[in-house]
Assembly symmetry: C2
């Protein structure tokens, strides 16, 4: 069977090289006579896997020594709660609502304290990110009004296909970012953040691993709230190398291989260049099309998730079906947006994007009579 062109939003495409290595080692890892799936998390062979994964990630992302790296479980959704329980020391934090998940993050924060909405893109159905000027002035005002324990953003909005291209100015307030769908898509200046976290299932590995990177001084005193479950206590997890209990050993092993692959491919600068190239190819087709149009406001477009539509629901469905028949999978848009979404993470080859662009042009020629209702 030829490889599918995998545009899934996550779990998503992984590098074939990684899959083949995992396959080769699946029954017997490195002559240990057992699988990584069967290996104790306390065994030297697994500790080596774990430490190498962390070291490679630190190297690739340029994580300073005063940041802890955790490999947890439960996805960003569980970290929405962990974040508030660990860091809401005065009980008041700011949230930028730029999409569905950032709204969920804020609602989760509101269980544990005052979750202040700094700005929202809801008016545009999240096709636009609130402007930096709006966010920055809201932060200044809210710090003056009552202080903020942190400012939370969702840096790339998987569902809407938008992305922060500039970070807000948070001054002394720690910036916390859910970077799930742009993690390892491009370099990040880690020192600009207090906490970065990401579900692995976009660019970093399989579902079931959540990477949390936090500045040590923010967690050094332990969780802000005594009701924080031990598992979600970032300080304890940092002290125990994410092994307060048994972690997702196999998931961490696969992530480690993906980190290695990113490094071999030239690191995050190379990833960004590839991803920008793939995104441009699609946005160029959209901007020239008379049938398709992009959903996100051009200046807020994501380099990881490209959302588009014909504005005719039946035609959108037909396109998705036709694409699936041609071996392009995962192109259906999220129900909150409709239309199509192409997730073009690191492991999606340029050839898959070329194939999608070709298909869009063919489809447009075939439906020259239909026109967008825009």
């Amino acid at each position: 069977m030829p490889r599918a062109h995998n545009f899934n939003p996550g779990p998503a495409a992984l590098p074939v090289q990684v899959l083949e290595e995992v396959q080769a080692e699946l029954v017997d890892y490195a002559g240990n006579g057992l699988s990584v799936l069967e290996m104790s998390h306390r065994a030297p062979s697994f500790i080596e896997i774990y430490e190498k994964a962390e070291e490679t990630l630190r190297d690739v992302l340029g994580i300073p020594g005063d940041y802890d790296v955790l490999f947890l479980s439960g996805g960003a959704t569980l970290e929405f709660a962990a974040l508030a329980m660990n860091l809401m020391r005065t009980g008041r934090a700011g949230y930028v609502v730029s999409g569905h998940f950032s709204k969920v993050a804020m609602d989760e924060g509101a269980r544990y304290g005052e979750a202040v909405c700094l700005a929202t893109g809801e008016g545009s159905n999240f096709s636009a990110i609130p402007t930096k000027a709006e966010i920055d002035s809201a932060i200044v005002a809210e710090v003056a009004a009552g202080g903020l324990d942190y400012v939370h953003i969702c840096q790339n909005n998987t569902i809407y296909g938008t992305m922060f291209h500039e970070l807000p100015e948070t001054d002394d307030v720690p910036l916390v970012a859910d970077v799930s769908s742009c993690f390892l898509s491009l370099p990040l200046d880690v020192e600009r953040y207090g906490v970065i976290y990401a579900g692995a299932q976009k660019n970093a590995g399989p579902a079931g691993v959540t990477v949390v990177i936090c500045r040590h001084d923010l967690i050094a005193q332990g969780p802000a709230l005594g009701i924080c479950p031990a598992y979600l206590d970032w300080r304890s997890q940092a002290m125990k190398q994410s092994m307060l209990n048994t972690p997702n050993t196999f998931g961490i092993y696969v992530c480690g291989k993906v980190f290695e692959w990113v490094k071999e491919m030239g690191g995050l600068e190379a990833m960004e260049a590839r991803n920008r190239k793939k995104a441009s190819m699609l946005y160029d087709v959209l901007d020239q099309s008379k049938l398709f149009r992009g959903v996100a406001r051009p200046q807020d477009r994501s380099i990881a998730n490209v959302t588009f539509t014909t504005n005719i629901p039946e035609l959108d469905r037909e396109f998705v079906s036709e694409a699936a028949r041609a071996g392009l999978v995962g192109l259906g848009g999220h129900r909150l947006v409709g239309g199509m979404r192409a997730s073009i993470y690191n492991a999606v080859p340029k050839a898959s994007v070329e194939r999608l662009c070709g298909l869009m042009k063919e489809f447009e020629e075939l439906h020259a009579g239909s026109s967008s209702t825009e």
Copy 2:
């Protein structure tokens, strides 16, 4: 490389047949052109994997229709907190402390309400389980004193090698059991419990999946406490087939294969017979030995984890090293107990246990001069 004799306490041995199937399908699952590791959790192909895993588990364990089955993450440790947040409706629950993890469960419960210790085996360093009479009368007394939202036990104590062979009488109070290390080792009468939960990494699959089985009426009103993170809301997870967010897709897939294997091997009665046979072989050697002795009180012995010692720390270490050289791995006891522990879960073949018994006898002959200080 020949297969190691894998006595790890978890992550632990998996059936070779399962590993080989996973390996064969790793790069391309069932002609989909992609790996399960890359498959959307919303894709029909994954929904099929999920539903079959649940269906097989329901079949194998005989789970009645009024119980929900969840496949979550974070291990039993995270469920210690989830349990209290979901079920502590009056704010008072009872815990039997029969080992390290049941103590941790109680401490975690105490974050959210009154966690009453019903009985403890601490006096014997947990080599004995509190008696049924002691536990039953404590339950009656505590129900009268202030009521109990649930009674919690850890049914098999991995570290100490003990196991409940009779369940406490809880009357109308829901019995909640962490069955991590005896899950699928033997049949369970599910209707005796309100909630059963287990980390998968002993008998059910790889680390990173936690199975939670709960009687629906107990969770139908939603969590008892508003501070329960959305991810840990058992009702929401039940309504969404464990997909409130992206679950550990690959882990669930491997668990499904293990459930199939259990079924093919004759189900839980057959598993129990095999496990009792393996355990007897080891306990017989221990009972006849002049060098080794079992740690657990005979009537409380586990059929999953066999703890033993020479009572001479250097000799214990020598045995563990010698065993490792002979390809028997994972035999070191937990630091809280010392000595040795053989975890003989479903996928540990009888041949591995025979090899261990043989090695113990050889070691004893070699050290005929040494004697236990018991």
